[in-house]
Symmetry: C2
Subunit: 342 residues, 2 copies
């Protein structure tokens, strides 16, 4: 069985499963599962593992592994605007860890939990020949929910901050250009809670900007036109990694290691009030572009609006038999096409 | 670091973690975490992996792996008397599964979910060199909660059904005496919901009867005296495996592969009403003995009440470097002592 397309494989896995009558999102429709538990309360629940990242050597620092175990899950709570209730850990250890390794790992978990004010509720420990850290984060949403689905044409698309740090980290680590690149992304809990009042849809960039745009396009059956110049929204660190390595900046948006920011849409009538409320908590979201009626991802590249096949790019990375150098060479071919188009 | 004692290792892992102010159980105090979410609503949450069982060759049938992934988690909901809300799956696959393997695995999950009326809410898929299936089950408890802690001396201790099937399965599988032993335990959801009205404490036998008694003793700081003859509460299949293999029946209570029944305590004043209510749903719990004031596990063996060091026996199995034959020989030494005592 060829497992190159994550969405299709997941559909195969779940095809016979009955859905909950209390669940208000369908598959892929929100970052966390949303379950109605009383007239005005919804439970947000999400689960995610740190697994391939360890096996591929991308994460080898126990503190970072612990930090990410919590952050990747809390980020999915943030994207539905949930208030954290607690997290359950599912820790699979090797038999021969040093006490230092365990201490650093747990410190990463604890620091992240304290940062997000999310308590550890409980968990399970196992032993295996492969290290794996999983967690399930739970949150509460009152009254109104926020999903990936819900935007309308002409709405504005924003990012919670500049993008590209996640891919800059992954590129540096996997090409061994810079071994000690530090990457501890912050899940956007307080921003998510604020967004629930204003945004029409929201998703985190855990798989990178292009994957996020692609998923939002599919679930909304609408297009996203990123008409702001890339310089406006690419992170300084990501831009400088590109310059050092002589690769185009957009590669830092195309890779699937995200930065755990939020992409969201805001209607024109909400925009001013949203921005002033955001600014009042010292948060300065970045405008990226707008929603368009036809399902297509358009990005301003080389001074032209270019149609980008985000589905193809996203799935390129799902093949376990190819490496970073292959991806870069494939992206270079796509870049040549962008440059050729007049 | 020596990891022979699960309770101690878990205490090391969580020692710096802040607890939730809304969580009403402490570490080890209940089978599921219990979190107050409104005046009369509690969320029950539990997470468990199928990991070592696969690596040790104990579970090699994909249908069973799927069934167990759901059942071990739902059993923890049952032990707090929760009504199932939903389950999240965390599935780590190998890259080269056949479609048949995946289909059987998902069928085991689906059949278990349908049996317990628990919907799959969502999940995460990963790829690794080691197969691992984790899940997090969520449930709702209204008003009164049920924990491992709460029994009083002189109360009666009961089991939801006969015991020993889990260890009979594990013994057969690991000694290769009987390859095709079928074991698909049923989590006791409806019994747990009924018990919440009557029981003063409850725990599932996921780690076998002795481990369960040991944990109940420690958390309640009280003893448990199993004064009923073992023939009254050992399963027919477990008894016959013992006879075939010429091993004492109590070994099927000492091993750490449980049968996912519930052990619980009932006060004398509740006993009659409890039993008639149970019988009315065609459920016939089995009396095992009673709670005693001093923390000790006493079991009727060889026509005598014997003090059993359940902590020592339970921890014997936590050593990854020894096999089933070692455990049997160690249990035989303990059995010789029981037989010697007049």
């Amino acid at each position: 069985m060829l497992l190159t397309n994550e969405n299709n494989f997941v559909e195969l896995l779940v095809k016979n499963f009955a859905r909950s009558q209390n669940q208000i999102n369908t598959l892929n429709e929100s970052d966390s599962e949303l379950i109605k538990i009383s007239d005005e309360l919804f439970l947000a629940a999400t689960t995610d593992s740190i697994c391939e990242e360890i096996q591929e050597g991308l994460y080898d620092n126990p503190y970072m592994i612990g930090w990410m175990t919590v952050s990747v899950n809390v980020s999915d709570l943030a994207a539905v605007g949930a208030s954290p209730l607690g997290i359950l850990l599912n820790q699979t250890f090797l038999h021969d860890h040093t006490e230092e390794f365990i201490t650093e790992l747990q410190k990463g978990i604890n620091d992240a939990c304290n940062t997000y004010s999310i308590p550890v509720l409980g968990g399970d420990t196992n032993y295996s020949s492969v290290l794996q850290m999983s967690a399930t984060a739970l949150g509460i949403v009152k009254n109104k929910v926020m999903k990936r689905k819900g935007c309308m044409p002409e709405e504005m698309i924003y990012s919670s901050a500049k993008l590209g740090e996640g891919n800059a980290f992954a590129f540096s680590k996997l090409t061994k250009k810079k071994q000690r690149y530090n990457f501890l992304p912050m899940a956007r809990i307080k921003e998510g809670i604020l967004l629930r009042e204003f945004a029409s849809c929201c998703m985190d960039t855990s798989d990178g900007m292009f994957s996020t745009l692609d998923q939002l396009m599919r679930v909304n059956n609408l297009g996203l036109c990123i008409d702001q110049p890339i310089e406006n929204f690419i992170s300084k660190q990501a831009a400088s990694i590109c310059k050092e390595n002589n690769i185009p900046k957009w590669f830092m948006l195309a890779g699937i290691h995200g930065e755990y920011e939020l992409l969201f849409t805001i209607s024109k009538e909400n925009e001013n009030e949203f921005l002033s409320t955001a600014n009042s908590i010292n948060w300065f979201p970045i405008k990226l572009g707008k929603v368009i009626p036809f399902p297509e991802i358009k990005i301003q590249l080389y001074n032209k609006m270019q149609s980008v096949n985000t589905g193809e790019i996203r799935n390129m990375f799902n093949n376990p038999n190819v490496d970073i150098h292959y991806f870069i060479s494939e992206l270079m071919k796509i870049d040549n096409n962008f440059r050729r188009i007049k």
